[in-house]
């Protein structure tokens, strides 16, 4: 029995079309649901035969079944789903006709003049069909592309993971020792507290601020274990969003690609301060200070504690002091991202000097830490968020709110990486071994910088100053190559790097320095 609603509107019913089994059996079948809309056209006025065109937004398999019955479960007009969907529906249908085998089913049915339309058409549609394929991650996607490349010459200078001279991943010896010890001890796997492993939290704050730092004795630091750098930044961003509504985070231009995504997803507004000067391939210090000064009072200023990613360009100690001055002047809040402590210069203390200097001035600040690079614990996701407050009472309150953010995100953090760090830092022999291995890693990177620079200077006859390679610090170098030039590096030379011109020296071997120099010189001079 079929009947139809009296309506003169073109888009009559948008809703869910239920698939019915071939025998009209309501209870069986796959009950698949889809969104489509019906437009109607009366064949003639007053006629009780109407022509229905069912536009499938996601028409994939349109199976005609003997008994054509569609149950329109709900009539919702297009605009109520969402305004933009309403506008694009028609267009999407047009697009669909190009690629799909059939996006319309036209059928005539005899109808009565009142009531609901009941017709059934088998429709296999997905509620997620309108989801587009996301682009690959600009950093992590590089490694995927590298894997696919079959050239013998290929070189992966994309992601910042340390490689040995043999270009192999490296698990620190001290990490293996710690893991063996942990297995021997046979510790249990009970949930950590929301704030993480206490021994880890103590060790990480001491590493960062220095074990004798008065701020620790005064209990002014709220520390919770986080999911490496990213996770720690995200929890801090959520704290900012909740307790500093409208406050902006100022990020350097350029900065690590994921910073923007983190603040976007946390719904924290951000703006950029000048940082990289392409003319000098160095720091635009005046621009940086001016932009920080111009920002609304009480902004958060995201600073790379050492080994700026992607440029490798760090402020000098004198410049750090001036940066601290202007931040204090504007009552801004410093927010340090410390992903390379010990890995940049080889010295844990030296690499923490910027943070410690700010702390010594009595400033309140946030610090996100990561052990991915300096302990090679990339995949274990171990880091921390520290909030240095002006009082112990504030630290207690802040810590309780950090926990409140972590609980609905992942409940409590993973134990394995935390135990490794706590064991390494807590055991004097392991700690010394760690420092040696870290010096070794930082040393290898310094030495390939030198070799790369030597090759560039020797081979490039243009007189271009390549000394920025030596002045930059840490895992990365900003070559100054633009996107097209970077593409040339990949397409012609099979050198994989990020499109911003960043190369990871951690992925460079001594043996490949000459080849890389040739590639850079070619891309810089012959491609624009």
């Amino acid at each position: 029995m079929l009947s139809t609603e009296k309506s003169h509107s073109k888009r009559e019913a948008i809703g869910f079309v239920k698939k019915v089994g071939s025998g009209g059996d309501q209870s069986g079948g796959a009950g698949s649901v889809g969104i489509g809309f019906l437009s109607t056209k009366s064949l003639n006025q007053g006629s009780d035969t109407k022509e229905y065109t069912l536009h499938h937004h996601f028409a994939l398999d349109c199976v005609a079944i003997p008994k054509i019955t569609i149950s329109v479960m709900a009539s919702i007009s297009l605009p109520s789903i969402c305004p933009s969907a309403a506008l694009s529906f028609q267009d999407k249908c047009k697009e669909k006709t190009k690629s799909r085998s059939s996006s319309k089913s036209v059928f005539s049915v005899k109808t009565k003049s009142h009531g609901q339309i009941t017709m059934a058409v088998a429709v296999n549609t997905s509620r997620f069909d309108n989801i587009t394929m996301a682009p690959p991650d600009p950093i992590l996607g590089v490694s995927e592309a590298f894997k696919a490349d079959t050239s013998e010459m290929k070189l992966n200078l994309g992601v910042g993971a340390y490689r040995t001279e043999e270009l192999q991943p490296y698990v620190l010896k001290v990490v293996k020792k710690a893991e063996n010890l942990m297995l021997e001890r046979g510790e249990n796997k009970e949930y950590l507290p929301i704030e993480g492993l206490a021994a880890f939290n103590k060790a990480t704050a001491e590493l960062l601020f220095g074990a004798d730092n008065p701020v620790l004795h005064q209990q002014r630091v709220a520390t919770i274990q986080g999911l490496s750098g990213t996770g720690s930044l995200r929890v801090a961003a959520a704290l900012i969003e909740r307790y500093f509504p409208g406050a902006k985070v100022l990020i350097s231009s350029p900065t690590w690609g994921n910073h923007k995504n983190i603040f976007n997803d946390a719904r924290v507004p951000w703006s950029e301060y000048r940082y990289y000067d392409p003319k000098t391939v160095g720091l635009d210090f005046d621009g940086m200070v001016a932009d920080i000064k111009a920002a609304p009072e009480g902004s958060f200023v995201l600073l790379h504690g050492c080994a700026h990613n992607p440029t490798g360009i760090d402020p000098t100690p004198e410049q750090w002091e001036k940066i601290a001055d202007v931040i204090q002047e504007k009552n801004h809040i410093p927010f340090f991202d410390v992903a390379y402590q010990g890995f940049a210069s080889g010295s844990l203390d030296e690499d923490a000097s910027s943070v410690r200097m700010f702390a010594a001035r009595g400033m309140e600040l946030l610090v996100a830490q990561s052990y991915s690079k300096n302990l090679g614990l990339y995949a274990e996701r171990i880091g921390a968020i520290n909030v240095l407050c002006s009082s112990a009472d504030a630290a207690v309150r802040v810590k309780s709110q950090l926990k409140r953010i972590a609980r609905p995100m992942y409940s409590n953090p993973p134990v394995h990486g935390a135990r490794i760090v706590a064991n390494v830092v807590g055991n004097p022999d392991f700690f010394n071994e760690w420092k040696e291995e870290m010096e070794m890693m930082a040393g290898r990177i310094k030495s390939v910088r030198q070799k790369l620079y030597n090759n560039l200077s020797a081979k490039d006859k243009s007189g271009k100053d390549w000394s920025f390679v030596l002045k930059q610090i840490g895992m990365f170098s900003f070559t100054g190559l633009n996107k097209t030039q970077s593409d040339n590096m990949t397409d012609k030379w099979h050198v994989y790097m990020t499109k911003d011109g960043r190369i990871s020296l951690a992925g460079l071997s001594s043996a490949k320095c000459e080849y890389l120099a040739d590639a850079i010189i070619d891309s810089y001079h012959n491609v624009s």
């Binding site: 869910f16 994939l60 997620f128 069909d129 046979g186 990213t230 995200r234 990486g417």
Partner: protein, 409 residues
């Protein structure tokens, strides 16, 4: 120069302790030898000790001894073998959904992380932003979904009069939900009540949901741990997948593999087609990358090692069944102890309910009495963790319950 008396954090108030974890805090402070911790849901042995499964230790040994293992970043979606094995575990090894490649599976941080990533994905990409959760449910559910950007409503679930399922109420409330709304379902061993629908009731729920286009989001935290059978505990999910419709499933290995602190879990989204699944997966990566970049390796490696090795897998099923059986036996013992004491009321719900928890039906005053007089630590909603009981401690609990029921209104 900053003054120590002023703080930009001055307006931040102290958050209260988590209600569930706070029970353990109070328990730890108590010095009475008869004290009993029936608060948090972590398995305890008959001796009251935490348990690390034998197969887990074996897997860890294998991993540590393997010289080729590295700690490089996992892909954003996690360890591939782990994802494959997890999907097979929950959907069944011969699930057509897996064979047709219509499932997008991503490794996440245990159950919580899987729910959060799924929730954020839906808030971003799905047109219906309301999720219906059962009343009551795990305390963290509403917070997870709210922070993910969804709005939370409830559907009737627990009937205090019968200490069972309010099935009519459930059907009514889901029947009144807007078309396309998301519905959170506990795959088995409902937390906190232990009350599960029968298979027949599940089928009715399924039909209703499909007729309204409601989107099922399963929380599977106890597969194998509830009945002792991995397949039986996945029946509800498999029933929904078999009808060809779409659904979400959050899996946790915290309890069934005792990997609590390793934070191992997975989010699977069963889509209509392989093409949709691959696009969905690409968008899941955009949710994960700004949250923690990529998931932790250790726990997932343990799970993959066990699931891929038939000997370890078989051993696991035996250890899993032993845990489930011990809990079932505690249920029987508690019921018998109450019946022996002639405690007024019908206590058979203790053996009808399933999983780690029992919703005793005791009220907050009775619970407070039990804590004060008998040093029993439990949540004030009357929930007890059976995993925290032993043959030796059942009599003490029964005494406490008897006293509470007969002495406190």
């Amino acid at each position: 120069m900053s003054d120590h008396s002023t703080s930009v954090f001055a307006q931040i108030a102290r958050a209260p302790e988590d209600p569930i974890l706070g029970v353990t805090v109070a328990y730890n402070k108590d010095s009475d030898p008869s004290k009993l911790n029936l608060g948090v849901g972590a398995y305890r042995t008959e001796e009251g000790k935490p348990l690390v499964l034998n197969v887990v230790r074996q897997a860890e040994q294998k991993l540590v001894n393997d010289p080729s293992r590295v700690k490089e970043y996992l892909p954003i979606v996690g360890l591939a073998d782990f994802n494959k094995c997890s999907a097979k575990l929950i959907f069944g090894a011969d699930s057509p959904a897996i064979q047709e490649n219509i499932v997008a599976t991503v490794q996440c941080l245990s159950g919580t992380g899987s729910l959060r990533v799924g929730g954020e994905f839906l808030a971003k990409h799905y047109y219906e932003k309301t999720v219906y959760i059962p009343s009551p449910t795990w305390g963290n559910h509403p917070k997870i979904f709210t922070l993910a950007g969804l709005s939370v409503k409830t559907y009737r679930y627990y009937d205090p009069a019968t200490r069972g399922l309010d099935f009519q109420g459930l059907l009514e409330d889901l029947g009144n939900a807007p078309t396309g709304a998301i519905v959170l379902l506990h795959a088995c061993a409902h937390n906190p009540t232990g009350v599960d629908p029968t298979l027949d009731q599940w089928d009715q729920i399924r039909k209703l949901m499909r007729s309204k286009g409601l989107l099922p989001f399963f929380d599977s935290a106890y597969q194998g741990f509830a009945s002792g059978s991995l397949d039986a505990d996945a029946q509800s999910i498999r029933m929904f997948v078999a009808d060809g419709g779409e659904c979400f499933a959050a899996q946790s290995y915290a309890k069934n593999m005792g990997l609590y602190a390793e934070r191992v879990g997975a989010l699977s989204i069963v889509c209509k087609t392989a093409d949709v699944a691959s696009r969905v997966e690409s968008q899941l990566k955009l949710v994960i990358r700004p949250m923690y970049s990529n998931p932790p390796l250790h726990g997932a490696s343990i799970v993959a090692t066990i699931l891929k090795d038939s000997n370890l897998y078989n051993e696991w099923t035996v250890e899993l069944k032993a845990m489930a059986d011990r809990i079932i036996s505690m249920r029987k013992q508690l019921l018998e102890a109450l019946q022996a004491r002639g405690t007024p009321g019908d206590w058979t719900h203790i053996i009808k309910q399933i999983g780690m928890f029992t919703f005793t039906g005791l009220n907050a005053e009775q619970v407070a009495f039990m804590t004060r007089e008998y040093h029993i630590y439990m949540t004030s909603d009357g929930r007890i963790s059976m995993a925290g009981l032993s043959s030796k401690t059942v009599p003490h609990l029964a005494d406490a319950m008897h006293a509470a029921v007969t002495g406190v209104a």
